[in-house]
């Protein structure tokens, strides 16, 4: 995260195998940081993808998505907070 003094409040992970490319998350995301990818997934859908920055962790995409496991939304852990077991390091963003 070097060079980024203020990390994003949220992070979103999309499982392209579970996505049906319906576009509801893309439509709903307030900061518009999701898009449908150019490539096709195994079902022949253009899966949703994260542009890589700007997620607020609001969770809206998770709720509008009809697929149980296509979207996982993460929230930034405040620095003082104890790290939790399910914590995750973001892929270099």
């Amino acid at each position: 995260m070097s060079g980024n003094p203020k990390p994003d409040r949220g992070l979103v992970k999309l499982d392209s195998d579970e996505c049906k490319g319906c576009g509801l998350c893309v439509e709903a995301c307030p900061p518009k940081v999701l898009h449908l990818a150019d490539h096709l997934n195994p079902y022949g859908y253009h899966p949703a993808a994260y542009t890589g920055a700007g997620c607020t962790g609001c969770g809206i995409c998770f709720y509008v998505c009809p697929e149980p496991g296509a979207i996982t939304v993460f929230r930034l852990v405040e620095q003082k907070a104890e790290p939790k077991s399910e914590e995750l390091m973001p892929a270099a963003a």
Binding site: M1, P7, D8, G10, L11, D15, D17, E18, K20, G21, C22, G23, L24, E27, A28, P42, Y43, Y45, G57, G59, I60, F62, Y63, V64, C65, P66, E67, P68, G69, I71, T72, V73, F74, R75, L76, V77, P83, K84, E86, E87, L88, M89, P90
Partner: protein, 483 residues
């Protein structure tokens, strides 16, 4: 360095893999943008949040969500079209600690299942209904549902729903809110993320009301069906918000949570062993003793009896006497009437089973005893009799083309014999006498006990006594085996 924690992810109570198909086991079968998937997530999130996965029973309907049991790792029952509220009633009453969710589409709940939902709501049953209103029969390809909007096209309303032909869209929440029974009724929608968050709260509220034992709760969810509506998922979502809510206003239609009292727990069902005593049919000990030696050893322990004849010949009563006597003898019994289209002059038949062991099915399709009170019945059922079985035929002779060598057939004019005793209608009991005598099944005492319960008048009891004796006599005379 920044670190992140999961805020929203796949609910624990979803299976990791959906075994519906061999491949791609992580996708649901729903179309892209279908509301069913969203609602599954709302339910799953609630189950996780309330910690009720181990005691939740989801009743899946007929409709696109017929496969809900592939996704949610809870107790699942897939039921006949529209009948989920009846099954939910049974599950909740017999397992009061369970959390029962009846998941139903609009075709399911508001068409074929109208009676079930109205009465379950009216009884205030303590379960939760999640009602998916997508204004269409999705699974079967888009026929009109009772909830289809006026003007909406469907395969059965190709020019749009017309009020003079198909009536008005059925407003289920408003209808059920007119009843006293329900505790909580709300209509929500999946038209945008705000509406979905509201739907999440409503689903949780409804299920919580059940955990508090307060009674019937229902959440109607206006839900997109992009495929049948021929819209893309985003357009369908907008249509829910802009069009459906005009006909189906959102809101809480009933909230009696403050004044509702906890429903009293249903009385526990008595243990199985107690039931014969409660019914006054046998005590446990004599039941077992009787079961050990009820039937003539030469005869099969499992009597599968078909009684058939004209309506009015006492076909059903004859079957009932056998079944009642069997009960007294401590046997397992079943009696299944099947009526012809006309009760009086038409044919009727019944299936009776008497067995020392539990009965798997009350249907008798391969009888080992046929009681044919007329010729059509003999013709129809003689070919179905098991080799070595018994046939009793009410007539004077067998037709040339109606015979079998591998069964024992007794032909007697039972009706005529009854007529000679002064009561034509007692032919069935004359036949019963012949059956008892020939096969040695069931004791006199049990048959008399059954007759006393089923036949109320003294005159008929006397006629039946004579009829039984005449039947036994007739069977003895001809040695019982007529070819």
């Amino acid at each position: 360095m920044a670190s992140y924690t999961v805020a929203h992810g796949k609910a624990k109570c979803f299976y990791d893999h959906y075994e519906r198909k061999a491949d791609l086991q992580h996708q649901t079968h729903y179309c892209p943008g279908c509301g069913h998937g969203i609602v599954h997530k709302l339910i799953a999130g609630t189950i996780d949040a309330l910690g009720i996965q181990d005691r939740t029973v989801l009743i899946s309907p007929v409709g696109c969500s017929v496969f809900a049991y592939y996704y949610l790792d809870v107790g699942n029952i897939q039921v006949a079209h529209g009948r989920a509220p009846a099954v939910a009633t049974a599950v909740k009453r017999s397992r009061p600690e369970s959390i029962v969710i009846s998941y139903q589409g609009d075709g399911d709940l508001a068409a074929i299942g109208t009676a079930e939902i109205v009465h379950a709501a009216n009884r205030g049953e303590n379960f939760t209904v999640i009602f998916i209103n997508n204004a269409i029969y999705g699974m079967t390809g888009g026929q009109m549902a009772p909830t289809t909007l006026l003007g909406q096209k469907s395969t059965t309303t190709p020019f749009g729903r017309n009020v003079w032909n198909e009536g008005y869209p059925l407003k289920v929440c408003e209808l059920l809110a007119s009843l006293t029974g329900p505790v909580y009724i709300e209509r929500v929608a999946l038209g945008d993320n705000k509406q979905i968050m509201r739907a999440q709260r409503a689903v949780r509220r409804a299920i919580e009301i059940q955990t508090q034992g307060l009674g019937f709760s229902l959440v109607e969810i206006l839900s997109p069906c992009p495929t049948i509506w021929k819209m893309n998922p985003v357009e369908a979502q907008h249509w829910v918000k802009e069009e459906m809510t005009k006909t189906f206003p959102l809101g809480v239609f009933r909230d009696r949570t403050k004044e509702a009292e906890r429903r009293p727990a249903p009385a526990h069902a008595p243990p199985l062993a107690e039931i014969p005593r409660i019914l006054g049919i046998a005590n446990g000990a004599s039941r077992r003793a009787a079961a050990a030696a009820p039937l003539n050893d030469a005869e099969p322990r499992d009597l599968r009896i078909k009684v058939a004849g004209f309506g009015g010949q006492g076909v059903l009563l004859l079957g009932q006497v056998l079944a009642e006597a069997g009960l007294d003898a401590g046997l397992e019994v079943s009696w299944l009437p099947s009526y012809g289209p006309e009760m009086r002059s038409g044919t009727s038949n019944c299936h009776v089973r008497l067995s020392a062991r539990p009965i798997d099915s009350p249907l008798v399709s391969r009888p080992n005893v046929l009681l044919a009170l007329n010729e059509p019945s003999l013709r129809k059922f003689l070919p179905t009799v098991e080799p070595g079985g018994w046939v009793f035929y009410n007539g004077t002779a067998l037709a040339e083309d109606c015979h079998r060598e591998d069964v024992q057939i007794l032909v007697r004019p039972f009706t005529k014999m009854a007529d000679e005793l002064g009561e034509t209608r007692a032919g069935n009991i004359v036949m019963l006498g012949a059956l008892l005598e020939s096969t040695g099944v069931l004791s006199e005492q049990h048959v008399n006990g059954a007759l006393r319960r089923l036949v109320k008048s003294e005159r008929w009891l006397e006629i039946n006594r004579l009829a039984l004796a005449a039947g036994r006599e007739a069977a003895r005379k001809g040695n019982g085996h007529e070819k």
